[in-house]
Symmetry: C3
Subunit: 275 residues, 3 copies
């Protein structure tokens, strides 16, 4: 591919308008996620508790903005002032839950529709991560960690609001905290936030900004499609294992065990029993 | 009744001062609600955990303001700066929980006292809903949904802060979310908020503002008294059922069942079992 | 001791710089607290869930600021913009959890180290209480209760964020609410906040400000050392019992029981059974 044309494409991606098509794709996948989280009782639940159903779907759709606002001292309800997005969210929610003979749900679950929506959602995610990092950088120009946190939350807000979203539906699952078993989306958003921060605040990345952004979009879309089509769920695992072995005690624990102190293993057993 | 005199009355109701009598009635009913929520162990609890008891009562009294502030990015503690109201709250809390031979509690439970306080509390509620809608309209002039949410939260804040209030007392009841089974107060506040928004933002309601406000006050007081004296708990149920049947799948589900697809019913059974 | 020299010392204490030594002592004890809260499975947990471990440690270290900010409508993440403190926190977290053969943890647990760190942490606590009261006084000059609440939260924020901190680690313990069984630190911070408010806002305390501050520092350090060395855990208990007997029903309940109404005792039994 011609590098010139590639840069042109990158510049077009960075200027892509999210409204309305990407908003629709995002809302659709959020409503689907709520419906799947409800399991086999989803339809009955949606009939008995329409308010809780609508509220929790809205919480998932606007999760990133709401969670980030909550942590930055900004109004949690502010994302709802975007009336067109709210309407799109409500319509998709209605289509997924209440269409006669469940037509809406079945169409949304149809593989080609799901793949297209997923790819669009990942482009949307990249934009949200970038917006989050930029917004935090404006508020706290020197606090790198805040930029990374806000970028990650914007990228996978639904993961972090899951407990509250389920609480709205009357279910409480404290062990499902995103921090305990971060999903691939959280890790990818974290990495993307770090790259955006490095790009913005340091000279370590010499590529033009549009290329960095485009690279992250490709990375998001590529792994999403691998996950749907090939079943690859977390390409970060080997790197994590290496990092844990080198820095978070892995090697030293093995050495300690080898030298006959054996404590870590026993503690691990205890842990399994008590949990 | 003379329409002129009626409008005069409405104008007087709209200018009614809440401090101090209405504050007293509101605080009294809030403290009673906490005591009843504690059940038969209320007195023992109040002796063992006076701090938790006081804090949860204050949370109920100031619930509307605190919940609305939390969602609007304003200081959650701000309602406590109203020192006279805080003193009234503390005194009523003390009277309900700690008077010798439980005199305070018995007086507050005495039917005529309870009826008078309840009627006053409903007038107070109408004012809070109106204040909530006006406040949100100042912040977000075009976000109707935010006005409705804030009005509803102000009107029945205690319903939405119930989980936190119980948590302060060491009890955790995730299935008691207001969103799952909205109480009559939540629904009434929602309807009142919608009417206030329509009155404020559109030309659909041609009656003078004072009459709209007075109408809502009468509606609140009337249903509260019906609920205490006649045991009518939720006049919205028939409308809800109609709406659900028409728009939220009711009719289509029946049709689908009739056509032999029968799925919704089975799912509903599963749901009952797992819950 | 010469009063002149004493006042001099007090003036020096008030100007003491917290960074970096006091920050180190505070972070060390916070990381130790997290490790002890995790119990025997701490090491296994830190290997399996490093992110949750790090996040919950940071939550404990910055608890006071974050909880106070959340309640005052300020950005919850703002305390993290203090990069040097964040680095100190991360390094102490690493030392306590991941050093080879657990050297860091063993050193931190060594009694003289622990005593020195504890004494420094109490000086830090006095400063945080004072800062909290001053900050709230700037925002709400007439709301004494808000000053006391913010001072208490700043003094023992970790107590109030414990539920969220454990939730980050996937554990949910609703009965561990600080409000149910306030720890000595909460009570001491409350008393210190009240004294600071009286000193700041009234003429009831005629001693110079430096002496008041120094007195509270001595009080904090003295009781912390008594607690570690002599096992005295709560010197407030007798005063509380007296207060409860006089004002919160104690005497009247006994009188009622004596007169044969005996209700409170039965209720107390019920309460124990249901809990």
């Amino acid at each position: 591919m011609d590098p010139e044309a590639f840069l042109d494409l990158a510049n077009q991606v960075i200027k892509l308008k999210m409204y309305p098509y990407f908003d629709v794709a995002h809302s659709l996948l959020c409503a689907l996620a709520v419906r799947e989280d409800l399991g086999s009782g989803a339809q009955a639940f949606s009939r008995k508790h329409p308010l809780a159903c609508w509220l929790s779907t809205m919480l998932v759709i606007f999760a990133g903005g709401m969670v980030a606002n909550a942590l930055l001292g900004e109004p949690i309800l502010a994302p709802l002032k975007n009336t067109p997005q709210l309407l799109i969210g409500t319509v998709t929610w209605y289509l997924v839950f209440y269409t006669p003979f469940d037509v809406g749900y079945k169409v949304a679950k149809f593989l080609p529709v799901k793949i297209a929506a997923s790819a669009m959602k990942e482009i949307y995610r990249a934009k949200k991560v970038y917006d989050g990092v930029s917004h935090a950088a404006k508020l706290y120009p020197n606090a790198y960690i805040i930029m990374v946190i806000v970028g990650t939350l914007k990228g996978n807000g639904a993961g972090f609001s899951k407990l509250i979203e389920r609480l709205v539906r009357g279910a409480w699952t404290p062990t499902a905290m995103e921090t305990m078993q971060p999903s691939f989306y959280t890790k990818a958003s974290l990495v993307a936030s770090v790259i955006f921060v490095l790009d913005k605040k340091t000279d370590l990345i010499s590529a033009p900004h549009a290329l960095v952004y485009f690279g992250i979009v490709i990375f998001f879309v590529y792994f999403k499609l691998s996950s749907i089509l090939l079943g690859i769920h977390d390409p970060f695992v080997p790197f994590e294992n290496l990092f844990c072995a080198l820095f978070l005690g892995g090697i030293w624990d093995s050495l300690a065990k080898f030298l006959g102190k054996g404590q870590p293993k026993e503690e691990s057993k205890d842990n399994k029993k008590t949990n």
